[in-house]
């Protein structure tokens, strides 16, 4: 049996009013990849913050035993000195500094703080970049890199701190599948070189691909640790641990939804980049959606899906948009978002915190924002009516909150997504474009979102669902478009389609930039 590198014993951490961690135990052996899974809010990030010293020694109960000694970390620097390095979910690089400057930020090379040795900085940086397989000069500005490469820079930065235990928090959440795969393979390669890693992820397929052991956390407690060597690990098996019951069907069935006439038809739609008007982002795309139909658009990140959706939604993205748009057979031009909303189109953004919700405002105010006209007359808001509307949608979507006066920023991801959906459902659209509607929310909430989608089409509305999760696209759509490099490269009925057939469309066309 390999040596135990890290042991977290009976960790308990309380915040005012909440017990975030309750007697959590975690054992990581040297040279293994250990995955930490659990629903949102289960306590994974809190546990890692305890480990890395973000919550200093004394603010929690229990012991951290690392390399055979009990550790008392007071700040991140303390844990980093021991070789425990955490890479956070949000990339923390500064865009207008070079790769090298970023890598040694706070850890500068040179004799003193007043004399940085740039040759050493860039020389060292290049060495680490080579280790992670990133073919870029360390003098390149970080803003020139895509998210995949930025993630590699983060890892190189961790290596530069002489990491022995690498903690990756949702490392692939903003990467496309190809980059994700490359990243996971890199972690496996590190393992063969003796590195120990802890990976936190929502993507169970990745977890079962990369991890040797999986520890499941639910509601602040450790539920179980699955060992690949002794048990068969399937995604369903992991989900069972996470939600405490077996989800037999991850996608609810739709019963007798009648698919009607064509509602929205877009022909030869071409969109150019707003800043580089010579770059085509969406290239000659045609699509149609019928009443009562869920149309999936599958594509990797950067395929132009969001850009397509936003350009349809009142030209909220892009320049030089050409092509025709027909609503119920009528050619219509939607010049502004207001017009799009008036013509009963809704676009539910993939970035609910950044583009969707006003986090400092209560649920009530967010719910009515896209359709304030409905609850006001002559510019004056009827606050009674607004309250009723908010409560109605809260109940309908089963948003978990003590009151609609609660600020949206205080809700969990799944509940925020419900508020966002409520906002657009209240705008009473016929066509809803849902962009990554289940990104970053837990399994239970996902199921509820799927049910809402089913209710919407049952009312005769049309849903366009953009997603980069293949099982979701297959499980929820009636028809699927595959998008790659700004083009639609395939269209298929969901029935009988498999992950392999969809991927083959993308592979055939190569990966467009």
């Amino acid at each position: 049996m390999a040596k135990v590198l890290l042991e977290m014993k009976n960790i308990t951490k309380t915040f005012p009013g909440v017990k975030a961690l309750d007697n959590v135990n975690l054992q990581v052996e040297e040279g293994e990849i250990h995955a930490l899974v659990g629903e949102n809010g289960a306590g994974k990030s809190t546990l890692m913050n305890v480990l890395s010293g973000i919550y200093p020694y004394g603010t929690y109960e229990g012991d951290i035993i690392y390399n055979g000694e009990i550790c008392q970390f007071n700040k991140i620097k303390d844990s980093e000195e021991k070789g425990i390095v955490i890479i956070h979910q949000e990339l923390a690089l500064i865009p207008y500094l070079t790769i090298g400057e970023n890598m040694f930020l706070g850890n500068e090379r040179g004799k003193s703080a007043a004399s940085i040795d740039w040759n050493e900085t860039y020389g060292e940086a290049d060495k680490y970049l080579k280790m992670v397989g990133l073919e870029e000069s360390s003098r390149t500005l970080v803003k020139e890199l895509g998210t995949g490469k930025q993630q590699l820079v983060e890892i190189a930065k961790a290596l530069a701190k002489h990491a022995k235990l690498l903690i990756l928090d949702e490392p692939t959440s903003s990467l496309n599948e190809q980059d994700s795969k490359a990243l996971l393979d890199l972690i496996i390669r590190f393992k063969s070189e003796g590195m120990t890693s802890i990976i936190i992820s929502h993507k169970l397929n990745e977890v079962s691909y990369v991890a040797d052991k999986i520890t499941v956390i639910r509601d602040g407690s450790t539920i179980e640790t699955l060992d690949k060597a002794t048990t068969e690990i399937s995604e369903d098996r992991i989900i069972k641990g996470m939600v405490g019951r077996e989800i037999t069907d991850r996608f609810p069935k739709r019963h007798d939804v009648k698919i009607g006439d064509i509602n929205l038809e877009v022909d030869n739609w071409t969109v150019y980049h707003p800043l580089y008007p010579e770059r085509k982002v969406v290239d000659d795309v045609s699509l149609k959606v019928r009443k009562g139909e869920v149309v999936g658009i599958y594509g990797l990140m950067g395929a132009g899906r969001t850009e397509l959706a936003m350009s349809i939604f009142g030209k909220s993205y892009g320049t030089g948009i050409s092509g025709t748009l027909k609503l119920n057979g009528q050619v219509t031009e939607l010049k502004t978002i207001k017009e799009a909303i008036k013509h009963k189109i809704a676009y539910v953004t993939e970035d609910r915190k950044g583009n969707g919700l006003v986090l400092t405002n209560p649920i009530k105010i967010n719910t009515t924002l896209a359709n304030l006209e409905e609850v006001s007359s002559k510019g004056i808001i009827d606050q009674d009516k607004e309250y009723q509307v908010a409560v109605e949608y809260k109940d309908k979507l089963r948003t978990k909150t003590p009151s609609v006066e609660q600020n949206v920023g205080n809700l969990s991801g799944g509940n925020q997504q419900k508020v966002l959906l409520a906002k657009w459902m209240f705008a009473n659209p016929d066509i809803l474009i849902l962009d990554e509607p289940t990104r970053g929310i837990d399994v239970g909430a996902k199921y509820e979102i799927y049910c809402i989608i089913n209710d919407l089409v049952a009312e005769g509305k049309s849903v366009i669902m953009i997603s980069s999760e293949l099982p979701e696209v297959l499980g929820m759509s009636d028809r699927i478009y595959v998008m790659n490099g700004g083009k639609f490269v395939g269209e298929l009925e969901a029935e009988g389609a498999t992950q392999e057939t969809i991927m083959s469309y993308i592979v055939k066309t190569g990966r467009g930039e």
Binding site: S316, G354, N355, L357, V358, L359, L369, S376, I381, E405
Partner: protein
């Protein structure tokens, strides 16, 4: 309880500061005359703070030109009044000038994307210069009695007591009492309405305490004013501004958009809100308020000078932040800004009565602003 404390920190601080100064000045600060002065001297701060709040709400944007615009509008107004035309002409011109400045700055900020800091910094220089040009570097005095009486300047700038009280100004008392009665009745009606429709109600005790305190303070101020010379005319303008913009920010669509744009610009945009128009609206209102503040300022001083309005923008900004507005936008209320302005006013006046050196007064003001913001930041952090 701690949540309530956090919410009402500034009103509580205001009371504590007032108590402190009434102890240090042997009650001088709460003499009727001083309460009267507190309101009329700071009339411009109240008006400007409300305008500034709108800009700050849209995303922490400020207007640095306010002081210069006050001076510029005042300079033109005084020059017109000097020509012995009907004073309403001057009033109208000053309001229009303020608004036009708002349109000018708002245009660059909203539609051309000039950063507000720069656009208004430019205005700060330009309108200060123009004021000097208009006044040719001299003071212009104002002797139009009607104008002064109506906008809080000169000796008779009080609403005449048509009820002819003996020692007390009965009109003032009547207005105050009626105001409080209306307030209490509307509270009961809205409470009953909420109950009837089965909405969630805020805890009755807390609401009652708030009702009692606000009513008591209103009656107390009424009594103080009545014991002096009655309702200062400048107070009418302050109340008008506070009620109109209090209503706009809390009950109207455009008010809602101010908060939405400041809270999350992109989300507002994708919800069909025309963000540019919202910025424009805020700066036009700010301009209008600058015009009004210009009127109040020259009336109070019974003259116009090229140095008037210096530093007014900072008083307004300070009042908003002390009153709980967020420096990032999206958070803040009109009553909050008024409390902030009052707090600054009380501190100013208290220190003046105590005979404190004017330089040290500035130091104290700076410290108060910093403490208010630190408190705000720290209390928010704890909440997390």
């Amino acid at each position: 309880m701690s949540a309530a404390l956090r919410k009402y920190t500034m009103p509580i601080a205001l009371v504590l500061v007032l108590l402190f100064f009434s102890w240090r000045t042997n009650g001088a600060i709460i003499l009727p005359q001083n309460i009267n002065n507190l309101l009329s001297q700071n009339a411009y701060v109240f008006v400007l703070a409300v305008g500034m709040l709108l800009c700050i709400l849209t995303g922490g944007n400020i207007d640095l030109a306010v002081g210069s615009v006050v001076c510029f509008a005042g300079a033109i107004g005084a020059t017109i009044l000097d020509k012995n035309v009907n004073f309403w002409v001057a009033v109208l011109v000053m309001l229009i000038i303020g608004t036009l400045v708002g349109v000018w700055q708002g245009f660059w900020i909203a539609y051309v994307n000039v950063p507000p800091f720069i656009a208004t910094l430019a205005g700060m220089y330009a309108f200060r210069g123009l004021s000097n040009v208009v006044l040719q570097g001299l003071a212009v005095s104002i002797d139009n009695k009607d104008f002064l009486n109506l906008f809080g300047g000169g000796a008779d700038c009080y609403v005449p007591d048509i009820l002819h009280g003996a020692n007390l100004n009965m009109l003032c008392m009547a207005v105050g009492v009626i105001g409080v009665v209306i307030y209490v009745i509307s509270f009961i009606v809205s409470r009953a309405n909420i109950k009837k429709r089965g909405y969630e109600t805020k805890p009755l005790l807390g609401e009652l305490i708030k009702l009692v305190i606000i009513s008591a303070v209103a009656l107390w101020v009424t009594y103080k004013l009545a014991s002096y010379k009655g309702i200062p005319t400048s107070l009418i303008w302050i109340l008008l501004v506070v009620f109109i913009f209090g209503y706009i920010t809390s009950k109207t669509r455009i008010g809602r958009y101010l908060y939405a744009v400041g809270g999350n610009k992109k989300a507002a945009q994708l919800s069909g809100v025309n963000v540019k128009n919202v910025y424009f609206f805020a700066y036009v209102c700010m301009g209008l308020m600058s015009g009004l503040a210009g009127i109040l300022t020259i009336a109070r001083a019974t003259q116009s000078q090229p140095t008037f309005g210096t530093g007014y923008e900072m008083d307004a900004i300070g009042a908003c932040f002390i009153g709980g507005a967020s420096a990032y936008g999206g958070i803040g209320t009109v009553p909050g800004a008024i409390v902030g302005a009052l707090l600054m006013g009380v501190i100013n006046q208290g220190m003046s009565i105590m005979g404190m050196n004017a330089n040290w007064q500035k130091v104290v003001k700076g410290a108060v602003l910093l403490v208010a913001i630190i408190f705000d930041v720290v209390s928010k952090k704890e909440k997390k």
